[in-house]
Symmetry: C2
Subunit: 520 residues, 2 copies
């Protein structure tokens, strides 16, 4: 891994000076092209040993490039807002938008390496972290990002020399602290941890560039040239290269699927509804005030056809909560800042802090539902969406977030009835748009997409609850009850093990003839 960076690379002043004007001109041109094409964000990770010239190299990049399209992201101790979110949140909030270059002084590699050196994690745990990183970076690249990872390498003797030289110069002496000297003592541990981590994360999509760091000119010129060529390649590429994807295959041998087996005739009368509602709302309000919830958080995802009753269900949950504790996030068209980021970014930015609740009215599943059916993204995009979403939810759950997902299923006949009703009730009228009517025409495509979604994303830790929603009373109580049971079960376990409870049926009765809908 580091062998090719211990051979005494260096660049003469003359060679450096000769190459610089062209490099600089082309870097600037590439930056402007990237910005104007608004095609890709560039992530430059500057990693390596202390004293290897990370800060100096970043400063040189600022000299060469246009600061207007350049941002340096630094990560010291996480703030309390960051600590109250999943670990990757701080990196998601720092991602450069399309057309810009983000230089990462410190990154998602810093913690695993540090923890490994300190002996806080085993080599197996390091492997698991590496695997998570790979999937994260793969997602970034699939979303169009250019990910460049530099590792600045020094030999042990080389590091000592660099630290001495920095200490001797009054302009740089301040940068060398006892902490740096201590790191020299852990040189071998760092090498081991880094060698291991770099090997696993040396992917085809986001490979490492190990740079011999002792010579300033060689180091800076390497970074500059690699960055330039990568940007030029990206600009020249006609389209984003795609990981091979297996097309979706869905058989329908017996006409049965997770939606068709739902019993949409289930109802709940008003009287038991009121009692049950009060009971579960009371239970919910207790659970979110439970001391054990203080370092957890709750994310509720609501999906369902138009008029399936998502809003009504969300309001019944909200009514049990303190307004200061929850946030309803309606998911509509993304803003331009959101469009300039990976598709999951706008959900990361709306995650709840510890002790808080986020209610999503439509969710990150838009990618595999509306975007798939309406062709708003490519097939490759939604095909990889399933595992990206699973990874996303896994990261939440690992951080102690309780993730509860509801699909509200209604029949076509019930939807038509509700549309018609809404058009008659004045204060609901605005809710029906041309788009709603149009969506009905794609009913079958949506049902297929929902079945695929449930199949691929109903994980053990974040299962889908399919809700028979033709009867609003029944649906609301089932949702509240499920939510309480999931919360209760999750709070009994330490954060990170969010196994669901079994799907017990709600008290309900079959409806009588006459209210049965067409599907049965």
């Amino acid at each position: 891994m580091f062998q090719s960076a211990e051979i005494g690379h260096q660049l003469t002043k003359a060679a450096y000076r000769a190459a610089m004007p062209t490099l600089r001109a082309e870097l600037l041109a590439a930056q402007v092209d990237l910005f104007e094409q608004h095609k890709t964000p560039v992530l430059v990770l500057i990693s390596g040993q202390d004293g290897a010239g990370k800060g100096e190299t970043i400063n040189v990049l600022y000299e060469w490039m246009d600061a207007r399209f350049l941002t340096t992201l630094a990560f010291s101790q996480p703030s309390d807002e960051e600590r109250e979110h999943p670990p990757m949140w701080r990196y998601w909030r720092s991602l450069p938008p399309k057309g810009r270059v983000g230089v990462f002084a410190g990154s998602w590699y810093s913690d695993p390496i540090r923890e490994r050196i300190e002996g806080a994690i085993s080599i197996k745990e390091l492997d698991a972290r590496a695997e998570q990183i790979n999937r994260f970076e793969e997602m970034l690249v699939d979303e169009g990002a250019l990910v460049l990872k530099f590792w600045f390498h020094l030999t042990k003797e080389g590091q000592k020399q660099r630290l001495k030289a920095l200490s001797a110069d009054p302009r740089t002496a301040w940068r060398v602290t006892q902490w740096n000297w201590d790191r020299l003592k852990t040189y071998d541990q760092l090498q081991d941890a880094a060698r291991h981590l770099l090997r696993i994360t040396n992917t085809a999509a986001a490979p490492w560039v190990v740079v011999e760091a002792a010579d300033d000119r060689y180091r800076c010129m390497t970074v500059g040239q690699v960055l330039l060529k990568a940007m030029q390649n990206k600009l020249a590429a006609k389209e984003i290269a795609r990981t091979p994807m297996a097309p979706m295959v869905r058989l329908d041998l017996d006409g049965r699927n997770v939606l068709s087996v739902l019993d949409l005739t289930l109802t709940l009368d008003d009287k038991p509804y009121k009692d049950e509602l009060a009971k579960w709302q009371g239970r919910l309000s207790e659970l979110v005030r439970d001391a054990r919830f203080k370092n957890r958080a709750l994310v509720c995802a609501f999906e369902g056809a138009d008029a399936a009753g998502k809003g009504g269900a969300i309001r019944r949950i909200a009514a049990a909560l303190d307004a200061r504790q929850y946030q309803v996030t309606p998911v509509a068209a993304p803003t331009d800042e959101e469009k300039a980021q990976p598709h999951l970014w706008r959900f990361w930015r709306n995650l709840p802090r510890h002790g808080h609740v986020a209610l999503f009215d439509r969710t990150w599943y838009g990618r595999v539902l509306v975007e798939r059916v309406e062709g708003f993204c490519t097939e490759a995009d939604w095909l990889r969406g399933y595992s990206e979403i699973n990874d996303f939810e896994h990261e939440l759950i690992e951080a102690g977030v309780i993730v509860v997902k509801f699909w509200l299923q209604i029949s076509q006949a019930e939807q038509l009835k509700r549309f018609t009703e809404r058009e008659q009730v004045e204060f609901k009228r605005f809710k029906i748009t041309q788009e709603d009517w149009r969506n009905r025409e794609k009913w079958h495509d949506y049902q297929q997409a929902i079945c695929d979604m449930v199949e691929r994303t109903s994980t053990g830790e974040a299962p889908w609850t399919l809700v028979e929603a033709n009867d609003k009373n029944y649906a609301r109580v089932k949702i509240l009850r499920t939510l309480c049971e999931r919360l209760e079960a999750a709070l009994q376990k330490p954060a990170g093990s969010n196994a669901p409870v079994s799907d017990k049926p709600t008290k309900a009765k079959k409806i009588k003839a006459g209210r049965s809908d067409s599907k049965k």
Copy 2:
């Protein structure tokens, strides 16, 4: 103030039920209209006594309105990120965008009232805070926002009854803590503080609505109706009402102004430049590592004509800093999220945390420069811009932020020379656009705008440093020296008293004939 809210207002169930459907229909319609017209953000402040039904009212608003356009903003203990920014930062980051309704459970009134009750601030200090609030709200209203402030009032006996009733009901008992009962003991102090603060902040643009809070139906219906009528009025208004503005009057009796008296022939040779640069960069790097800087922050504003050398100056400052400590914020066209907010919002969101440095390449002065000259905003907008900007900087300075502002002045001849040079040097070519050439035609208008800007915003606590920038060496050293001197002076004083040092001349010499420019 509270007299009219102690007369036993109440609403019968029948009257409430009768009015509700229309209210709800019209609220929803108004919300949709506001969202579609994207014209205005609505801020609803819910304030008042504990137990007065703030949370309940917010929940009722959620029942009536469309949660998609509604957000509740709650403010408990500030996070460390919030504590490391000016106090108003947490409210700025929570402002609802145009077309949306933000319900504030807690607001910029909470701290002054609490501090007054605790005796932490005098009545005079309360007045000063009220005045700041008035200016902030006036700015919001001028920027098109609808600001609705509700105060829920209970008599002392009424409050005791409410708390008892809440405690008795198992569904609400959890909401009443010892803290609430303690607030009952400070009832009179709260009344005094609130009465005082409400009187001063009862402005024509954003008046208070005091609501008798004992009866749930009366309270909710009042909030709903006031909100509805205010939204309808806003929708009906043809244009934003403007506070009277005195048009700008600029006399030119003797041809002298702050720009014309600058000696643009000042230069610095390369040899002393190198020494001075190294000296001040070293000094700067010491100052930002000074222990006293840890709970301060530095904001540098750079303005100047195209090609005046802002980028070069910023790079010379950046070179003295650790990449992890500073952020360069280039100010270009606002994103759509930024356009949906008051014009200062995008600067608030880029303010540095404690111990950090923000370098702004173009700034919040765009409003009184390019937006004024190019007509991107109305005359009223840029006229009020001056005091809004002064308030903004004052808030920074009060929070310990050191604000240093540079105007880089070059002559027209020098600009032409640089434009021509840039077109010849390949890696600088992209920097010249048609717009740059076009801007030159408005040279005179810009000079006038700059003079007005200096006159109105060169405050004692945040003065402008006008930099003779025809010679880059001279300009860069003057900027670095000024920055160091301002930092040094500020660090010697407690946060909030950021008086500048006197404007001592930099070592320089007059240039010889032949390099003099046309202006002299």
